[in-house]
């Protein structure tokens, strides 16, 4: 599991690569926290290369959604594969997160 990071204008694009489970969740948490610290409050998380996410991973995402909300920032998710989208859907998280199909759409939402 690893995380890659790109900056486009004032948006931080975070790529999740591999699987997020209870083992790798703390590492992912750390890496996104660093991006958040140095960023300007607009984050896009791209799930294109993510195979699997456990509840530990969902917890990490919820934590950042809350932090960004509290800091008046925005978080958009994109490129979720059908299985992962279903996980979000069943647990009702599709109602909490702003989820877009493509990266383009997501970037537009963040004002790019």
């Amino acid at each position: 599991m690893h995380v890659e990071h790109e900056i486009r204008e004032d948006i931080d694009i975070v790529f999740l690569i591999g699987r997020i489970d209870a083992q790798s969740a703390p590492g992912v948490n750390q890496e996104i926290a660093t991006v958040l610290e140095n960023g300007r409050g607009k984050m896009l998380i791209d799930f294109k290369a993510l195979e699997y996410i456990s509840s530990a991973g969902l917890r990490v995402l919820i934590t950042f959604a809350k932090k960004l909300k509290a800091a008046q920032g925005s978080l958009v998710l994109c490129n979720l594969n059908p299985k992962i989208y279903e996980v979000f859907d069943v647990s009702g998280f599709t109602a909490i997160f702003d989820i877009r199909t493509t990266q383009e759409e997501a970037l537009k939402t963040l004002g790019a």
Binding site: D21, A22, S54, S55, A56, L58, R59, I62, T63, K66, V90, S91, G92, F93, A95, I96
Partner: protein
Amino acid sequence: MTRKILVVDDEPDLEVLILQKFRRKIRNNDFEFFFARNGLEALEQLRDNEDIDMILTDINMPQMDGLTLLEELLRLPCLTKAVVVSAYGDMNNIRTAMNRGAFDFITKPIDFRDLELTIDKTLSEMLVLQKGHQARNTLSALQQEMELAGRLQQSILPRSYPECREVSVYAKMVPAKDIGGDFYDFFFIDDDHLGFIIADVSGKGVTAAMFMGVSRTLLRFTALQGTAVDKVLSHVNNLLCVDNELCMFVTVIYAVLNVKTGELRYANGGHTPPVKIAPDSSLMMLPQTKGIALGVMEGIEFEEGTVYLAPGDLLYLFTDGMPDAENEAHEFYDEKRLMEFLGSLDQVAPASVVNGAYKAVTDFVGKGPQFDDMTQLAIQYQPPE
């Protein structure tokens, strides 16, 4: 860090020489020397000073010689390594000493530069051993914590099935290695109403186990007031959102069955809905009702669903540990296979459904490790004619 060295020799001159040759290291508190005149005195010193890092010992001494001392050291629980000082060319004694666990040897007359090198080498080795020992102790403590989390989880589950002729209940929770925080619960709210719950706490370990305890208590307490199913979830959700810095959440199904009429009311907090299995094995997954996992956001509204159970209908509830079970080829068991299994049952009865499904999943998983708790709850409605 001051390293402690025990020197064992019957010759008093050696003590004087060592204190002189190593005076700088002694002054800088790098080394602290202890002295014993024979093996017996050495053992006493070891008893009085538990943190001695290494021993430098002569072979020929009265009362207890160096080789016997080495034997005694093997019997003690301490990690301390010994270097022997032997006569030049005394291969027999050197071999015996090495076979009895000596770390190294130097010969007389003592070359103090060689001695210093040997001491440094031995102390480095000791540091590695000591770190390994500490790591093992930490691991042991963590394992004990896991066991505690496991016991906590078991103690939360109901200990016996409800005695009621209209329903038959069976449940099974098999925890993952790291305790995933699943639980189930059932209780009579009044003579006619059986409430039941299946839930899955996010994360693993002791934190999940504790959040599980809190969730289960809040749910049961609120449910026993006879509150409507959707209100139970919204109320408990608001309570769980307070002081939830770790952003833990729990997915839940809460349902109430009227055992006299077969009416089932249910509400869903982000969990896969229950499956209704008719006596002829036909399946129906109950319609999803509005709601999200509990503990994420305050003020969420939930929806109440209603369904009627016909005599012989069995309601099957499960957590994602079942469909998410993986075999060694990294294939998921998947909901599809689970539904196929449920639709192919010979006998629709709680124990056989639950045990059968568990066997089907574990057969599929084979030698793969269990990542998540596997929890199932089956409730069959059997009103008397």
